[in-house]
């Protein structure tokens, strides 16, 4: 009988036992350091309504140049390049050399008439060009990379559209070679790797509009009219981690090829197998120097350059070094003399070795393995046989380019000469 009461007592005992355990656990958690994670405040984002147009202009300048004194930087012989990386291809000042994309110079004092037209003024003309209508038709279902349908009505809207959808209108003569000016070499600015947020894009447009005439600012209204919604101050938490490399702008032997390519922004123009950032460049040749360099030295064009006394390389290695140190020595057929000329100041000997070692190790197989292919305007033609993908526009354009290479080159030249915006060389 004495054991009869057991059951109830056990319940109490067990309950006491686990309450003790739980109290110890809870006490322990309370004793450990307490950190409360607060939700990020929305105020982090730039509130467009709270910033003056001048503020936006200043911000746009910083995004473009990375400094508030771009001319000073230029005077020191450095390129002012900000987060947006625009000056890599666009020309903003006479002192600057960049002609891959339409120039954005606007200097009323310049004697040359064409340079007096500011981008703000020019943009209004662009939307009225008959070609704009063609692009509207071409991308009626939405441009394939960005999904936008060209529908800019004012110059400001055009400027905004060009950043979200560079292919929506390609200025004559500035398309990717071989695409008949239907594809732009410019990256989509609100996507990686540039990844500007809406407010930043508005700031850049503000900069362009207000450079000459602060009364021309319409960027915010244009954005809202173009997208048909309010420019909310989102951005904040979407703002990407800045990836621009800093430190001394010198390629060092202690770095990996990837780091050097990033530092020197080779990826802006070239595709390089084995380098993760260099997958999209469409301005310079595909750098598979294990294949290219020996062929180039043997090519009649190179022989001619040697005779002319500009080129001197006899081995593949020498050829690559020459191409980096003195880009003008030999221009690969199908390309312009576009490459920056100041690399000889930026490479240490060992740094150059690292890059050359990497480039010389790349060949067609490496490119294929990385899914890269030659540009349409390279003489060698695509590595992948064209019949593999005839139906896609890209391959079609490549095919066409092979046959029409000469004509395109000629027409390019003509276009540049005739264009209302000068690509000075």
């Amino acid at each position: 009988m004495a054991k009869k009461k057991g059951s109830g007592v056990i319940v109490v005992k067990v309950a006491l036992w686990y309450i003790t355990i739980l109290s110890i656990f809870a006490a322990y958690t309370n004793w450990l350091p307490q950190i409360r994670g607060d939700a990020p405040e929305a105020a982090e984002a730039i509130d467009v309504s709270a910033i003056t147009p001048e503020g936006l202009q200043e911000m746009g300048g910083m995004i473009i140049f990375g400094t508030d004194d771009p001319l000073g930087t230029l005077a020191r012989g450095e390129g002012p390049i900000g987060k947006g990386q625009c000056p890599l291809c666009h020309r903003f000042f006479m002192e600057q050399k960049a002609d891959r994309c339409p120039n954005l110079i606007a200097l009323k004092t310049e004697p040359q008439l064409l340079l007096q037209v500011s981008e703000e003024e020019r943009s209004h003309e662009r939307v009225k060009e008959p070609r704009y209508e063609e692009f509207k038709k071409l991308h009626a279902d939405g441009e394939k990379n960005s999904g936008h349908v060209p529908h800019a009505e004012t110059g400001g809207q055009y400027l905004i559209e060009s950043e979200y959808c560079p292919n929506c209108f390609v200025v004559e003569g500035f398309g990717l070679k071989g695409t008949n000016d239907t594809e732009s070499p410019m990256p989509i600015i609100n996507k990686p790797p540039i990844l500007l947020v809406d407010t930043e894009i508005v700031a850049v447009v503000s900069f362009l509009q207000m450079r000459d005439d602060p009364t021309k600012w319409t960027a915010k209204d244009d954005w809202e009219a173009y997208f048909g919604k309010d420019l909310a101050s989102e951005g904040g938490d979407e703002a990407p981690a800045e990836v621009k490399p800093a430190g001394p702008p010198v390629a060092l032997g202690s770095e990996t090829p990837e780091e050097i390519v990033t530092k020197m922004t080779c990826y802006a123009c070239h595709k390089i197998p084995g380098i993760s950032v260099a997958k999209t460049g469409a301005i310079g040749p595909l750098l598979i120097e294990g294949t290219n360099a020996p062929n180039r030295i043997k090519s009649p064009e190179y022989k001619a350059a040697m005779k002319a006394g500009t080129a001197h390389a006899t081995t593949a290695r020498e050829y690559i070094i020459e191409s980096i140190m003195d880009p003008g020595a030999f221009i690969v057929p199908g390309f312009a003399d576009d490459m920056m000329k100041d690399f000889k100041h930026k490479f240490t000997v060992s740094g150059l070795d690292v890059l050359v070692d990497h480039l010389i190790a790349q060949d067609e197989a490496a490119a294929l393995a990385d899914g890269l292919d030659r540009l349409a305007n390279e003489k060698e033609g695509p590595i992948k046989k064209p019949e593999a993908k005839v139906e896609t526009g890209e391959a079609f354009a490549k095919n066409q380019s092979k046959t029409n290479e000469m004509t395109i080159q000629v027409s390019n030249k003509k276009l540049i000469e005739n264009s209302t915006f000068i690509g000075l060389n």
Partner: protein, 333 residues
């Protein structure tokens, strides 16, 4: 050979094995005492404890009852963590360790039925039996335990003026990049632009050793030492770092005693030699105000030097600091 001799031999062997690493460790020094004497005391203590335990248990045939063993073990653990382990560990860690030890000593006493009976029998006797000794100890216990609780409560309620316990990460994770003088510096990849050898190439970390020692301020010196000189000018002149960080970079400058925590001691192998150059750059350029959330409560009197120095001066003073202390920055290669 007698059994005793074998046992004695093993005991000595054990003591030697235990003593060897202890001497090595204690010889490393540190702590308030002179390394030599203090480590001798420590080693002696341990050896003596082991020897006497062996003497009592095996030689004299007097195994300690579990009830005595348990608190003894606890005290040994406490002494081990509190006194022998140097430099002293913070109370939070000590509490954690002692908590584990307490639980495990209890488990040790209750591991098997015999040991549990050995442990609990005296307690049961004390609680249940009705003779004088048991009664006395019972009353004593019931006086002591509330007394202890009361003392503890009194202690708790007593107003204290100590500094609050804080979780302060002295070397918090740096941001990915910082903006100094409107230039973006990515801390992961940035390099000291003045780390240049005789050949004009970048000087790999470790290669600067050849410049260490000697006088950098005499006549014609290599390029690297010129940078060191200029860094020294910043340290003692332009910025006046020495007011806090000291003439010998040991954190004992004339102002240092006013600060809590004290200024960083660069001569200590736990500071700049554990950090990348870019981390030091971040701390110098941004100072206390830019410490991250992790480093709460941001207890740092370091000013943001970017307001007073140029980027180049900051890089140079970093070169100087490493040169002067003879440390190398950390690399992750």
């Amino acid at each position: 050979m007698s059994k005793f001799k074998i046992k004695a031999f093993f005991a000595q062997l054990l003591a030697l094995i235990l003593a060897a690493p202890m001497i090595a460790w204690a010889g490393g020094g540190g702590g308030p005492f002179d390394a030599g004497t203090f480590s001798a005391i420590k080693v002696g203590l341990v050896v003596f404890a082991i020897f006497s335990a062996w003497l009592i248990k095996d030689k004299m045939g007097l195994p300690l009852p579990k009830l005595i063993q348990a608190p003894l073990l606890w005290i040994i653990c406490y002494i081990g963590f509190r006194v022998i382990l140097q430099p002293p560990i913070p109370f939070s860690l000590l509490a954690m360790y002692m908590g584990v030890c307490t639980v495990c000593i209890f488990l040790y006493c209750s591991l098997t039925r015999p040991s549990w009976e050995e442990f609990s029998h005296p307690i049961a006797v004390m609680l249940r039996e009705d003779h004088a000794t048991a009664k006395m100890s019972r009353y004593a216990t019931f006086l002591i335990i509330p007394g202890l609780i009361a003392a503890q409560t009194y202690n708790q309620m007593l107003p204290k003026f100590g500094e609050p316990i804080e979780l302060r990460t002295v070397h918090p994770a740096p941001p990915a990049s910082i903006n100094v003088h409107k230039k973006l510096v990515t801390l992961q990849t940035a390099e000291n632009p003045f780390r240049i050898g005789d050949d004009g190439n970048y000087l790999k970390v470790g290669d600067e050793q050849k410049y260490f020692g000697g006088n950098a301020w005499t006549g014609d010196v290599p390029k690297f030492l010129q940078e060191v000189q200029q860094g020294g000018v910043v340290f003692f002149g332009t910025a006046g770092c020495f007011f806090c960080h000291g003439d010998n970079l040991d954190g004992k400058g004339p102002f240092s005693f006013a600060f809590n925590p004290i200024p960083a001691n660069f001569a200590d192998p736990g500071t700049i030699s554990q950090l990348q150059e870019t981390f030091v750059f971040w701390r110098v350029a941004k100072g206390g105000p830019d410490l991250s959330r992790e480093a709460f409560p941001w207890a740092s009197a370091m000013p943001p030097w970017e307001k007073h120095l140029t980027t180049n001066e900051i890089w140079k003073v970093i070169i100087f600091e490493y040169w002067h202390t003879g440390f190398f920055p950390r690399t992750w290669g």
